[in-house]
């Protein structure tokens, strides 16, 4: 029984050691404000340069960044045009300065990361955190790769087609990073 008395603490210690760095880890929220307002039409695209290295929490954990558990684009989208619009967010994996929607879509490495968000004529919609997280689909992986990489990229908000016009107010990119030492 004396041996047994040490068995459980020993097993616990072994499990802790096997866990290694996963013990010293956590999930941290980082956010990056986007320029506001972003006023967009097909021929006059406005971009948001994102350099996460300027975000303190990201700086603190960049060396220990293992994964991303959540990402969202928040803000208030307003359709200022005369037709309904399906808003999407595109990303280029570096800082770029593209002036129109067509150039964004064919840019090297450009990928649609978020959307679509449907806006009726004159409609204004504050995108909630849960809703926005659900609008990341296939494009989530490339964005995660950028955040795990150099943290520098460019976001563009585009409509699906037609002569749309919309704007994004108080836009912010929010991510939850998994960091562990």
């Amino acid at each position: 029984m004396r041996n047994l008395r040490w068995t459980i603490p020993t097993l616990a210690l072994a499990a802790l050691l096997a866990g290694g760095c996963i013990l010293v880890s956590g999930q941290f929220i980082i956010s990056k404000d986007l320029p506001t307002p972003l006023v967009i039409s097909p021929g006059a695209v406005v971009h948001a340069d994102v350099d996460l290295n300027a975000v303190t929490v990201y700086q603190d954990h960049k060396a220990d960044l293992k994964d991303l558990s959540d990402v969202a684009i928040l803000g208030e989208f307003t359709n200022t045009g005369s037709v309904p619009v399906d808003v999407s967010i595109w990303m280029t994996p570096a800082l770029t300065d593209l002036g129109d929607a067509a150039s964004v879509i064919i840019a090297p490495g450009a990928v649609k990361v978020w959307g679509p968000l449907r806006l009726g004529v004159g409609e204004s919609k504050k995108v909630g955190w849960d809703q926005s997280a659900g609008l990341f689909k296939a494009g989530k992986a490339p964005l995660i790769a950028q955040i795990k990489g150099d943290g520098v990229f460019t976001l563009y908000a585009l409509g699906a087609s037609g002569s749309y016009a919309f704007q994004l107010d108080h836009g912010v990119l929010v991510a939850v990073i998994d960091a562990g030492k």
């Binding site: 029984m1 047994l4 866990g19 996963i22 999930q27 994964d67 928040l74 809703q131 998994d178």
Partner: protein, 181 residues
């Protein structure tokens, strides 16, 4: 999940076998309490509850298959001027704990455990991962066949190179419905 199920089944078989062999108690119980995320900015404190099946397999050792579920609190954050809420998620688990349990009406015991944990959050991919439990319990028997337990445990769910950790504080009752000579 495939890795944990055999462990639980083995524990049940061993427990039942040992119970019939050495004269032990088999019981069933329920517990509830609070689950406090540790270093997780995307979840808040929530409620945990579950069921246990304590089986004495040796004079000082109990094996305890369990099922538990925790509803974590939502996170509310303000970005810029707008407030947002993110679903805190839910964790459900089943597994087995091993308790170094002394006899007597008042018992102070350490325990370790392993289980399959499913993490669910709105607009996020469901995750099923292995988790470990380490903790201390205080048990007392005021009425024959009934036990009351107070426990504090660290629950650590592995996520590759990181983990999600919870401090769980629970109170439970169990009833020994089967005693073999």
């Amino acid at each position: 999940m495939k890795r944990i199920l055999p462990v639980v089944l083995l524990a049940l078989v061993l427990g039942a076998g040992a119970a019939s062999a050495i004269g032990v108690k088999v019981g069933g119980g329920a517990f509830g309490g609070v689950s406090i995320p540790i270093l997780q900015e995307d979840s808040k404190q929530g409620v945990i509850y579950g069921l246990r099946l304590p089986v004495s397999v040796l004079p000082l050792l109990k094996l305890e298959p369990y099922w538990a579920t925790a509803s974590l609190g939502d996170v509310e954050e303000t970005f810029g001027t707008l407030a947002y809420t993110r679903d805190g998620g839910k964790v459900s688990a089943y597994g087995v704990n091993a308790l170094l349990s002394m006899g007597g009406p008042l018992r102070f015991y350490p325990f370790v455990g392993i289980g399959t944990h499913k993490l669910v959050r709105e607009a996020a991919e469901d995750l099923t991962k292995v988790g470990y439990n380490f903790g201390l319990g205080l048990g007392f028997s005021a009425i024959p066949k009934f036990d009351v337990d107070l426990r504090g445990e660290l629950n650590m769910i592995t996520l590759g190179e990181t983990s999600r950790k919870f401090a769980n504080v629970t109170a439970g009752v169990s009833y020994h419905f089967l005693s073999l000579p």
